[in-house]
Each structure stands twice: as structure tokens, then as C-alpha cells.
Symmetry: C2
Subunit: 184 residues, 2 copies
């Protein structure tokens, strides 16, 4: 990210600058190339350990006159785009929180319902992997606004988060109870 | 496993035989040593690929006059035992199905309810990773019986499995609906 920042600060010295690219697709390509190069450079130097040096990024934005776009950039530099078929993108510790997204996400959801689903998904991840923790940061972008909304931060003592975290365990048990038992 | 089988077949040639060990703890130790040695031998020879050669095993049983015990043996040869604090052990693609086990498992569950929970957990995994598939095999051991029950196999066209797989999506959506929406 600091390399991208550097390029955007000094466009006369570094080519191409991220702000000069005509499309978000081009931005994702550039981010992918820089990510791949940075990972390769760091994998050959510095401390060695069993874990590999890696990163996956989300890149989103809108250029005037075009639709907003959101990409997930892999460590190899390639990327996928959010679409109707891939309505949510996950990075990091993705597996624990994925089944609830697959099962409960609905394109007809309101925005508030979608945020509730995200909180449930992250809460499942944090319950299963103690190295994942609060806070949750929510970054919103309204189409054609060309500026981000103020970041929403949910801390662990947030009353809404606590009501979800407590209520979800009970809701899941009721959901299990509602299904028939097997005959063995 | 074939090495263990070999040792149990020819106890006069191979020492120690798995059937000569006095405790299940000793059996888990022996299995761990053989697993670690087999992985080390195979990691140095044969085809090379990016993925590492690995295995995790469940080892359980009962020796007359003692309690039944169940162990999860790691590729490094160490192991953990099922207990009140670790009432379920998972191997393979464990993450997708883990949150529902953490949230809904209850020691007071009936055996039928526990099997239902396992089916839900495996179904979540199969929905999230298409390389995990049916059938589900259920192996039961009744304490002090000293012989396994016949294996129960659940195929993908099993009516009970289908009722769970279909019903769980609806039950999860109802569970999400029962939680309050955030005010943003």
C-alpha cells in the first residue's frame, strides 16, 4: 500500500500513477502487479520461516462516468470482480464465516440486513479462531458520491454486537431443534 | 494404515504389535510414530508438488477392563484426546463446519440430536467446498461391546439428508431474521 501511496504522491517521478489509469480494471491490474512483485521480493530476503509471506487485497472505487467496481486481488497478481454471481468477497480467515453467507445471503436483503449478516459471519469466525478479534470496521461508498462515508467501527462492547453474538447462539440452537431427528 | 495392519498380522516378526499394547494411549503413541515416520519418508522421495504430503488420523478403541478412548493424531505424531473440554474431534476440511458445532453442541443432547448436528455441519462443508462430497459414514461403538456396530452410510439421495440440507437453509434464514437489524 505504501508503494501505491508513493506512486500517487509523485506522479512525475513514477509511472504509471494509480490516479492516471482510465479504468478500475486497470487499477486492479496495477495493484496486482505491485502486490506480486512485493511478495516475490520479500520471499527471497529477510527472515525465513515456515509460513510464507502473502497477502490478498480488496480494491474498489469509481471513476467519473463509469460504474463503481470492486475487485479481490490474489497474491499472484490476478483478480476477480464482485458480480451477481459473486456478490461477496472475503479475504483473510474466510472459511468459518462462509457457510452462513452462502446460505443466508439474498440479493433482496436490505442494507441493514446485509450488515447484520456480516456481523454474524465475523462473529462465527472470531468464536472459532481466537487470533481474529474486534473491532469490525465498515466502509461504505455511495455510488456517484466520489467520496467515502465516514468509517463505522464496531467495538467488542458495542451493544448491537453483543445482542447479535448472544442471540445467534440461541437462534442456531432453535434452528437445529426445528429440524427432524434421524432414526438410527 | 497398511503398516499397522501388517504389524497386527505378523506379531512374531514385527515389534511392537498394536494388539500387544496395554493401553489405548500406547496405541495412539505407536500410530503417531508410524504416521510421522511414513510422512517423513514420503516427503523426501517420489513426485514433488507444491502441496505437502500430510495426514491426520482419528484413533479410538477400548481395551477390556478400561474406558474407551478416542484420539486425534497429528502428522507430527503428537495427539490430543477427546474429553469434556474437547467433546468433538475434526479432521480434514474442518473450518466450514466448525462454527455450528461450537455454537449448537450441548453435552445434554441425545445421540440422535448429535447425529443431526453432524449432518448439518458436514452439509455446510460440502456446500462451501465442492471437493468434499457424500457419502457420510457413521461408525458407532457401544461401550463394553468390544465390537463395532455395522457402519451407517448416508448417500446423497437419502431422504433424511435431503430434508436436513433443504431445511437448514430455511432454518438459518429464519434464525437471521429473528435477530435485530443494526441502526446505521
Amino acid at each position: 500500500v505504501s508503494i501505491l501511496d508513493e506512486r500517487s504522491k509523485a506522479p512525475e517521478h513514477r509511472q504509471p500513477s494509480i490516479f492516471e489509469l482510465p479504468t478500475m480494471f486497470g487499477v486492479a491490474q496495477l495493484v496486482g502487479e505491485i502486490l506480486r512483485d512485493t511478495i516475490q521480493r520479500n520471499s527471497d530476503t529477510g527472515e525465513r520461516s515456515d509460513s510464507s509471506f502473502n497477502a490478498t487485497l480488496l480494491v474498489g472505487g469509481q471513476i467519473a462516468g463509469m460504474e463503481p467496481r470492486l475487485f479481490l486481488v490474489y497474491p499472484e497478481g490476478n483478480f476477480i470482480e464482485a458480480s451477481e454471481d459473486t456478490p461477496f468477497l472475503q479475504i483473510g480467515e474466510t472459511k468459518y464465516g462462509r457457510p452462513i453467507l452462502l446460505r443466508a445471503y439474498d440479493p433482496a436483503m436490505t442494507f441493514e440486513e446485509a450488515v447484520k449478516l456480516l456481523v454474524v459471519s465475523f462473529d462465527s469466525t472470531m468464536k472459532a479462531n481466537l487470533s481474529v478479534g474486534m473491532p469490525l470496521d465498515i466502509s461504505l461508498y455511495n455510488k456517484d458520491s466520489f467520496k467515502p462515508q465516514p468509517m463505522i467501527r464496531i467495538e467488542s462492547d458495542d451493544p448491537y454486537y453483543q445482542s447479535i453474538s448472544t442471540g445467534w447462539g440461541d437462534a442456531l440452537k432453535s434452528a437445529i431443534d426445528s429440524l427432524p431427528n434421524p432414526t438410527l
